[in-house]
């Protein structure tokens, strides 16, 4: 079986519910309506031989709707084929159906997507955070979450504090002076005069 046949089989079976098809350097990507995800996954696994789920990842298209895009990387060990499925979720309802029952490995991938991006997976047997701790209030890979982090505290478990980049170690200091003064070195916020502007060295 070839990738072209796979694409043809899925398109002819699901028709309009496959909303896009991209090919790039021999990699096939199919965009799906959210309600087509489950049936397409079942079809891929049971009839096209995609027995291995490589990864689930997610993309935050902040300030665009639909905001979230979820990417499934399927692989067929028997045929050596790699298929990528994409679907979307809106900001108001960031939820897609789980594929845990099709590929058990999806369990932890979906927990990671919940932890980092805040996507819910309907029907997941155990949707807990996997990297951050229970009680951490944010989803840090969302585009509206600052890199420096936010304050949080779960007593006896963990706390977090913001760590602003400007003025910190390994950042060129926004002050007048020679390179020796400005160069990145170990320092704390507050060691320097308030930052007027961030100076990027050429």
């Amino acid at each position: 079986m070839k990738l072209a046949e796979v694409a043809e089989a899925i398109s002819s079976r699901f028709g309009e519910r496959v909303t896009g098809r991209m090919e790039f350097r021999g990699e096939l990507t199919l965009a799906l309506q959210p309600d087509a995800l489950r049936p397409v996954c079942e079809f891929c696994r049971d009839e096209l031989g995609f027995d291995f789920l490589l990864d689930i990842s997610s993309i935050d298209h902040f300030e665009h709707e639909p905001r979230y895009e979820i990417v499934y990387e399927l692989y067929s060990l028997a045929n050596g084929l790699h298929l990528r499925l994409k679907t979307t979720a809106t900001e108001d309802h960031p939820e897609v159906p789980t594929v845990c029952d099709l590929w058990p490995t999806a369990n932890w991938h979906e927990r990671e997507a919940w932890d980092m991006m805040g996507l819910r997976f309907a029907g997941h047997p155990d949707l807990r955070r996997i990297i951050m701790w229970e009680g951490y209030p944010y989803h840090p890979l969302r585009k509206d979450f600052p890199l420096e982090g936010k304050f949080s505290d779960v007593p006896d478990v963990a706390f977090t504090e913001p760590a602003p980049l400007a003025g910190g170690p390994f950042v060129t200091a926004p002050v007048d002076g020679t390179t020796e003064v400005r160069e990145p070195r170990a320092r704390r916020a507050g060691d320097l005069p308030p930052a007027q502007a961030f100076i990027a060295e050429p």
Binding site: M132, E148, F159, L165, G168
Partner: protein
């Protein structure tokens, strides 16, 4: 050795007798049998292992006895990135160590968060526990760690260990 040395050996007295100050003797014993608690959290731990192996041989400084129990350790070597998820565990292990105890922050991450200026990483272990020696480097070479260890030994030699204990004892009575 000069006449003023605390280790002065009086050759007129035969046998195994050395005159010294009690503080000096206690500190000498402490500083030359520093049993580390290897808090290996990231790549610095690899250099810590190298420092323990044959080429660099931390045993030359009496610190080869890596104790994986805080109850038996004297110096905690925080080697690596301290994430917020790990931070309170590190603090708890430090609190389980028996006094007197010291801390070496090994490498940029343990000292200041290093290149991880992010939501997930504690910006220096000294936010939580007192640090005696900071070792720079990313990761530091074993020589740098050994230099840090020797500086810690020097620091311990200057501590008024017995006097402090005596003061505490008198205060507690």
């Amino acid at each position: 050795m000069s006449d003023l040395s605390p280790y002065a050996y009086d050759s007129k007295i035969e046998g195994n007798i050395i005159f010294t100050q009690l503080d000096t003797a206690i500190n000498w014993m402490r500083s030359n049998s520093l049993w580390p608690m290897p808090m290996g959290l990231a790549c610095c731990a690899i250099e810590l292992m190298a420092a323990g192996a044959a080429r660099f041989d931390i045993a030359r400084f009496g610190a080869e006895v890596m104790r994986f129990s805080p109850r038996q350790s004297d110096v905690m070597i925080v080697a690596g990135t301290v994430t917020y998820k790990m931070a309170l565990a590190v603090k708890r292990i430090y609190e389980q160590m028996a006094d007197p105890k010291w801390v070496i922050a090994m490498g940029a991450c343990a000292s200041s968060g290093g290149m991880y200026r992010s939501y997930a990483v504690l910006q220096g272990i000294d936010h939580l526990i007192p640090v005696d020696v900071y070792v720079s480097g990313c990761p530091p070479r074993p020589e740098a760690l050994l230099d840090g260890l020797m500086r810690l030994q020097k620091k311990i030699m200057g501590e008024p260990s017995f006097l402090e204990q005596k003061k505490e004892l008198l205060a507690s009575l």
